[in-house]
Amino acid sequence: VSEETETPEGRVFAAPSARRLARELGVDIVAVEGTGPSGRVTEHDVRTAAESGADEVEEEVGKIQPDDDLEIQPE
């Protein structure tokens, strides 16, 4: 089924590994188009989104160091 299904409340269906990869690459997974069954977001989708340069998020959590004094607001 490749038809797009609307999921309420921005819920993304993606494996934990894909969600983590998205954070690592600074990709907002909510905006990634899923190509898996029923529109599931795969790691491949996340990488594609990262390469296309879209969906950059300001907050690169992957790079926070314990002693960084940069201000990060809890969302």
Partner: protein
């Protein structure tokens, strides 16, 4: 043990060694951080010492005694003699094996252990007050702190825990003898789990509950088999009753309750157990010195990385809010440690499972049908009764059912509720299904071993799809 006020420093200071704190400390150690874990009482916290582990040990032991004593239909006739003191000793052995393990694992992962009670001096240091008179205190400076001080049982005014007449769950799990009779105030999961233990070991158990059913918060049809079995065990229930006061009477006590019309009832028993919920342990931490506030319920507020309003101070586990569950504490502990180490971790799980170890057990994960509707999904629901499970029948425990809630258009599994044998274990597969974004079809197409209870999960998914084999379809 250090005497006098000396000062040390650490990358990561963890306060409290429960399943939140010790897991955070171990994980931080694994990530190469310099970690200090401060605990004022016992490694393993509430969970290992006074909660999850002791209660589950007593549940298994009392189940075994009860099941063997009630297996005439299987041709098993027993003359049973239970020595409760020895059962408690066995339980204590299990606990000390596990808490000893926690201590060893901390050390093996390079965690420095410190005994004492920590309170914040400011947002960069704590004072650790060592136990025992004249043991002094010490200041520990930290780069990051993880607050994991857990929770304590709520006391009803007038029902202060005295360990003799009025018991906390911790005290109830450490008795030398089965009380002849006991009034349990509160029909939540802790009250119901212990009601089962005592009833199965021969106690005369009465449960009084302010709300109108057992296990408030769980759906009615999940609670029903638990209530039914409890009735069979002879447990007496009185709903809509608020405990007001108690007095000694003869060899025991009388508990006085009041319903919403002010009608008063009295319940006599040898002892009373009060299990009406737990509250966060944040008030003794002098959090204000660190610039952290608690919410109106006393919980520390955190974001999706377990950070408090001070971004180098984290809070995890019971002190950081509902659900107050050990595995939620551990998960938050792992994430806090990883975030401190600079990893891209977050609390982004889709579902937090929960289990109640009553007879039968309950296991839940993700959304109920109602929640799915409220969130705008179009839920389809499958159900499979354990009466139709070959494996369940061969174990003599075939009450209850598996229910799966999925989104109809996409097929994605959103939640599951199980009441029945091994519900606490069966829920694991459904947790993975939800995390993976599995569909009903994925569950139905996965071959499940015969004869197992886990087949019920598969058949339940098939039922939602309209083609279960071993039950009629909706």
């Amino acid at each position: 043990m250090v005497v006098g006020d000396i000062s040390t420093g650490t990358d990561v200071l963890v306060i409290g060694a429960g399943p939140g704190g010790y897991v955070a400390a171990i994980r931080a150690g694994q990530l190469g951080l310099d970690v200090t874990l401060v605990e004022k009482d016992a490694y393993g916290g509430t969970c290992l010492n006074y909660g999850c582990i002791p209660s589950k040990a007593m549940i298994t032991a009392s189940d075994l005694a009860y099941d063997a004593n009630n297996a005439e239909d299987m041709g098993i006739y027993t003359k049973l003699d239970v020595n409760y003191g020895e059962m408690v000793e066995w339980k204590d052995g299990v606990v000390s094996q596990l808490t000893g393990g926690v201590e060893k694992l901390c050390k093996a992962n390079g965690v420095s252990l410190m005994e004492g009670r920590a309170e914040f001096a400011d947002d960069k240091s704590v004072r650790v007050v060592h136990g025992g008179e004249g043991q002094g205190s010490e200041t520990v400076e930290f780069e990051n702190a993880i607050v994991s001080t857990g929770s304590r049982p709520i006391e009803i005014p007038g029902f202060e825990f005295d360990g003799e007449h009025i018991l906390s769950s911790r005290q109830a799990l450490a008795l030398d003898e089965v009380p002849e009779s006991i009034v349990i105030v509160g029909a939540g999961y802790i009250g119901m789990e212990l009601a089962g233990v005592f009833a199965k070991l021969g106690s005369d158990v009465t449960v009084v509950e302010m709300l109108d059913s057992v296990l408030p918060g769980y759906e009615d049809d999940l609670a029903r088999p638990v209530k039914k079995k409890a009735d069979e065990l002879g447990i007496g229930f009185h709903f809509g009753q608020a405990a007001k006061e108690w007095e000694e009477s003869g060899r025991g006590i009388t508990v006085v309750t009041e319903d919403e019309d002010g009608e008063v009832s009295e319940f006599g028993a040898e002892k009373a157990l009060v299990a009406v919920g737990r509250q966060p342990v944040a008030d003794t931490l002098e959090l204000e010195n660190a610039g952290i506030e608690t919410d109106e319920k006393g919980f520390i507020q955190t974001d999706d990385r377990a950070r408090t309003e001070q971004e180098h101070i984290f809070a995890i586990g019971d002190v950081a809010g509902e659900p107050m569950l050990a595995h939620k504490a551990s998960k938050e502990g792992q994430v806090a440690a990883e975030v401190i180490a600079g990893e891209p971790s977050a609390l982004d799980y889709q579902a937090m499972p929960a289990a109640v170890f009553t007879d039968p057990e309950i296991g839940t994960v993700g959304m109920t049908q109602e929640e799915a509707e409220a969130q705008g999904f179009e839920p389809v629901v499958g159900k499979f009764p354990f009466q139709a499970s070959g494996r369940a029948l061969t174990t003599g425990h075939a009450e209850g059912f598996v229910r799966i809630v999925a989104d109809e258009p996409s097929g994605f599994v959103l939640g599951a509720q199980i009441v029945g044998p091994e519900a606490s274990e069966l829920i694991a597969e459904l947790g993975l299904a939800i995390e993976m974004g599995a569909t009903l079809e994925d569950l139905a197409a996965t071959v499940h071993t015969h004869p197992t209870l886990s087949e019920a999960v598969m058949e339940c998914a098939e039922n939602a799809l309209g083609h279960a084999i071993h039950t009629l379809n909706r």
